[in-house]
């Protein structure tokens, strides 16, 4: 049997899919593969591709997708069918606490101690009316009235600062990169706005609060990646 015929039948041979005219034909391929290093090597390559294809890494979609899905579903579900409570009972915080086993290593305890000291020191500064490392940006945002998370003003300020930085870099990007970045940022901002609208209607919705945080984190990562583009 010639190389060309073997190569053309190789995928069928690997998959056990060939409709062989006879058992002899299959044997001929096997014999050829035993005798021909090139075809044998090709067979190994295709086998590796086939094997690797079943173990490809999974990709994670942007967080904003769930917000869009949830908003669509909420909008189209008749009010009468909307569940005001979930079917499966929630664990209470005490049940969750009891279910956990806490073990701390020495460095973790040292870290926790340092954090406690930092909290106490910050508290003392706060009570005495002094602000360590006064940051004008932060001060100017403490008055944001519409914050839906306790630290939202700071998060927003940080993101705005980064957006300003990225805007400077954008001049050096090609149009495709600029367009992709703008589209992505707009999508996140739209999802953020939808999430904030839902939170304004129900400020205690913990699920939306967490969602809001994740979206801010997604925006932060986008900006961080964009900032790296200057390097």
């Amino acid at each position: 049997m010639e190389c060309r015929a073997v190569i053309e039948s190789l995928s069928d041979f690997l998959d056990g899919q060939g409709i062989w005219n006879s058992e002899n034909e299959k044997s001929s391929i096997e014999e050829h593969l035993d005798a021909c290093p090139a075809c044998q090597s090709l067979k190994l390559e295709l086998t590796e591709i086939k094997t690797a294809a079943r173990e490809l890494p999974l990709h994670t979609p942007p967080q904003a997708i769930w917000v869009r899905i949830a908003n669509t579903l909420e909008a189209e579900l008749p009010a009468s069918e909307r569940k005001t409570r979930e079917e499966f009972p929630k664990e209470t915080w005490w049940e969750r606490f009891k279910a956990r086993q806490f073990t701390f290593s020495l460095p973790q305890m040292a870290g926790a101690g340092a954090l406690a000291v930092a909290v106490v020191v910050t508290g003392i500064y706060g009570l005495s009316g002094r602000t360590p490392n006064s940051d004008p940006t932060r001060l100017s945002l403490t008055g944001v009235q519409s914050a839906l998370l306790p630290d939202e003003a700071q998060i927003r300020a940080e993101l705005n600062r980064r957006i300003a930085e990225v805007n400077k870099l954008k001049a050096n990007w090609n149009s495709q990169l600029r367009s992709e970045f703008d589209t992505r940022l707009t999508q996140i901002e739209q999802s953020l706005e939808q999430c904030r609208t839902a939170l304004r209607a129900n400020p205690n919705d913990q699920s939306q609060q967490q969602q809001l945080r994740k979206l801010y984190e997604e925006e932060r990562q986008l900006l961080e990646n964009a900032e790296r583009s200057k390097q």
Binding site: R4, E45, I49, A53, R54, P57, L77
Partner: protein
């Protein structure tokens, strides 16, 4: 958004049942469990992140609408994957893109070239490189390769879904593998 432990402990069938009665939290848990597989499948078939995001969103909205029809006769994953594939193929049809039997762009190379390139090739197929190379395949090859080698569909199923013969599906798969081999060797 994190679903609590009780929801996470539930099986897909229970969550699907609760979702069909309007429990968004149950559906969110299903989303958290399966979104990566659905998105990855869309991304591989479409080779375009924006379109993959849009279709992932559409698939889950469609899933919510149809979830009451899931009877648990097959695995939920199988059911969802079939729905995803059908949705992507429908998307291709809507765009007016007919299934293409790629013959020129991805023609298998000359025998001498194949044999030559076998010499001293790297022995290991890197999964990330393969993932990238799949995106570079012509769409006809990519569709069959993703459905057969990545998702594990049989040629008979693929042929039915794409409206082609089993022979065409097999031939496209072989050409796709050979093309991938070329792409991987070029990058190595």
């Amino acid at each position: 958004m994190t679903a609590n432990g009780i929801y996470n402990a539930k099986g897909d069938f229970d969550l699907a049942q609760a979702s069909s009665r309007g429990d968004i939290k149950a559906f969110e848990t299903l989303y958290e469990r399966h979104n990566r597989r659905v998105y990855s499948l869309c991304l591989r078939m479409l080779a375009n992140a924006t379109e993959a995001e849009d279709l992932t969103q559409e698939v889950f909205i469609q899933l919510f609408r149809k979830i009451g029809s899931f009877r648990g006769e097959s695995a939920f994953t199988t059911w969802l994957h079939r729905m995803t594939v059908n949705h992507v193929l429908m998307h291709f049809r809507k765009r007016g893109v007919k299934y293409e039997k790629t013959t020129e762009e991805g023609e298998i190379g000359e025998l001498q070239d194949i044999i030559q390139s076998v010499v001293e090739r790297p022995r290991h197929v890197d999964r990330l490189s393969l993932d990238k190379a799949i995106r570079e395949l012509p769409r006809g090859y990519r569709t069959v390769f993703v459905l057969h080698d990545v998702e594990g569909f049989e040629h008979e199923e693929i042929a039915k879904m794409l409206g082609v013969s089993v022979g065409t599906s097999k031939s496209q798969l072989h050409k796709a593998r050979m093309k991938l081999r070329d792409l991987l060797n070029k990058k190595a």
